[in-house]
């Protein structure tokens, strides 16, 4: 193939790919743009793309009207809290399965995975009633607990696949040198496992941030994270597109940025090692 043929092919591919990419991304772009419009401009006909009066008033108004940052903070507590708690439990489990495997290890792993496949609606009523009776409804503690449990299998699995890649000889060498179990974990294993743990953490924060079954069903006003707060825009009063957009932009921006850094982990984490 000649040089120009390759180049023209590359130009065409670039144009098609960018066109489709922008088309898929457009709803997000449109939301961000709308968040800077006045409510009147947001529903103007024909729609205004860039030539509107840019304003920040939606962002301040969303906060003034609904205490937005309370919900934002709830999302942070729930996603980070459930992730840290989950990591704490999962690091121990994944470590023991990866480095001291027993006959039943594979079965335990598969069983843990099977709990992830349980449809949440199958346990909705008992959890709701248990939460009601123990005063956990609409509390951050309750949501942290539930989200830790639903994402625990994913955390264990991801960590397990990362730990598996650490060569066992290094641990044996440390043992030969007389390192204790804890010294082995803290000084040998942890430094090697940090990248894996960090990626697991990132993916899990994203999953917990966007979780929208339990957060919608177990919260009212107090502990509602952004998923539930945004849902309150489903019964709107008056003009609200610009405010919905501002609330949405703030809700997705941090996670969009984190997500772009975790593309690789997404594949590993959500396919449970079935695709590498």
């Amino acid at each position: 193939m000649s040089h120009t043929a390759i180049d023209s092919r590359k130009i065409i591919m670039t144009a098609i790919a960018w066109g489709i990419g922008l088309l898929i991304f457009f709803p997000i772009l449109w939301t961000i743009l709308t968040s800077f419009k006045t409510e009147a401009d947001a529903i103007a006909s024909p729609p205004m793309f860039l030539g509107f009066d840019w304003t920040l008033e939606n962002y301040t108004e969303v906060q003034d009207r609904s205490n937005y940052f309370q919900h934002f903070w709830n999302s942070v507590v729930i996603s980070v809290g459930s992730t840290l708690l989950g990591l704490l439990i999962a690091i121990l489990a994944a470590w023991s399965m990866a480095f001291v495997p027993a006959k039943g290890t594979k079965n335990v792993l598969m069983w843990m995975l099977s709990t992830k496949m349980l449809p949440p609606v199958g346990v909705l009523i008992p959890i709701y009633l248990l939460f009601r009776d123990t005063g956990l409804l609409d509390t951050l503690t309750g949501l942290v607990l539930v989200l830790t449990l639903i994402n625990l299998p994913i955390i264990v699995w991801m960590l397990y696949t990362y730990f598996k890649e650490i060569p066992g000889e290094i641990l044996e060498a440390a043992r030969m040198d007389g390192a204790s179990l804890w010294a082995e974990i803290i000084h040998v294993l942890t430094p090697m496992a940090v990248p894996g743990i960090a990626s697991t953490m990132l993916l899990n924060i994203i999953l917990a941030w966007n979780e929208a079954f339990w957060t919608l069903n177990l919260t009212a006003a107090k502990a509602a994270p952004l998923t539930a707060f945004i849902a309150s825009y489903s019964s709107p009063e008056g003009l609200f597109y610009a405010k919905l957009s501002a609330a949405s932009t703030m809700a997705i921006a941090p996670i969009l940025i984190m997500g772009w850094f975790s593309q690789k982990q997404l594949v590993r984490g959500l396919t449970f090692g079935a695709v590498k």
């Binding site: 843990m112 009523i125 994203i206 597109y241």
Partner: protein, 290 residues
């Protein structure tokens, strides 16, 4: 080799995870099972009564159940068809040499990180609204009558929204697999004069088939439980036109307070999900041995 000491420590360290998941699975699930045999309404507490399989009889013969079962199937199948064909096409496209490939990939993946309530409400209001939505503007500009998506095609609209959310997932995984394909094999086929179509059918598609199956199974597990998108757009309506099993169980138990009936529905949902899960677990299990 691991010492006895570390072996005991290992069993000890795995126990919190195992016990928690065991508790999470066994306790609520057996409660659901138990409730499903009771006449139990939250509005009349203390009146619970054992009624055997009556709840199942009611739930499984309710026209709402058949509507929900059909909708669940259409929702899952519709989203799968769009995301798998779209994902294969996009993966092939993104694998081509081009400028700014990394940025295009970021643009394509982005919808996956948008929380379900945001994507559903943005699509519903700013795109599909028959008065102020962009689609309505576009229709008017072309001299057509705007289409009221959620009144006339509620399930279709939800399928569109969910497909937009899941297309990135399929694309990303299929692209990862495509990039692991041995390029020399493709070059060799090219030299032998194999046409594009035959290279796709005989080399690329077989290479991707395992990943496609995994994507189908994993998506199905998640798609069976679609909830937020329905709650904030249609509330399952009009009538039962966009109610899936998950939403039906939610409505029965938390809106009508019928714990017994809702629990029977929950068990039915578990059984349905298990049918898919068995196949998925088998594939993952095979990979674990290798």
């Amino acid at each position: 080799m691991a010492t006895d000491h570390s072996r005991i420590a290992a069993r000890f360290m795995i126990s919190p995870a195992v016990l928690l998941l065991l508790g999470w699975m066994i306790v609520p699930l057996s409660m659901t099972l138990y409730f499903s045999f009771l006449d139990y309404n939250l509005l009349s507490p203390g009146m619970e009564e054992w009624i055997g399989f009556m709840n199942y009889e009611y739930f499984l013969t309710d026209p709402a159940f058949f509507a929900a079962l059909g909708n669940t199937f259409l929702l899952v199948a519709g989203v799968l068809v769009i995301t798998i064909t779209g994902g294969v096409a996009l993966a092939l496209l993104l694998d081509q040499p081009m400028w700014g490939q990394g940025i295009v990939r970021i643009l394509v993946i982005a919808p996956f990180f948008v929380m379900p309530t945001v994507s559903a409400l943005v699509w519903k209001n700013m795109f599909m609204n028959p008065v102020n939505g962009l689609f309505a503007h576009a229709a008017k500009a072309m001299g057509l009558a705007p289409f009221d998506f959620f009144a006339h095609a509620p399930l279709f609209s939800i399928i569109m929204i969910v497909a937009w959310q899941w297309l990135p997932f399929a694309t990303l995984i299929l692209l990862t697999v495509l990039q692991s394909l041995d390029k020399e094999q493709l070059e060799a086929a090219k030299m032998d004069g194999a046409r594009k179509m035959s290279r796709f059918v005989h080399i690329i598609l077989p290479h991707m088939s395992r990943a496609i199956t995994v994507v189908i199974l994993i998506q199905t597990i998640f798609l069976l439980s679609i909830f937020a998108e329905i709650l904030v757009t249609t509330n399952g309506g009009p009538g039962y036109a966009s109610t899936n099993i998950t939403y039906l169980v939610y409505a029965q138990s938390l809106l009508q307070f019928d714990v017994g009936g809702g629990s029977a529905g929950g068990i039915v949902a578990v059984v349905l999900a298990n049918i898919v899960a068995i196949f998925l677990m088998r594939m993952i299990g095979k990979n674990l041995e290798a």
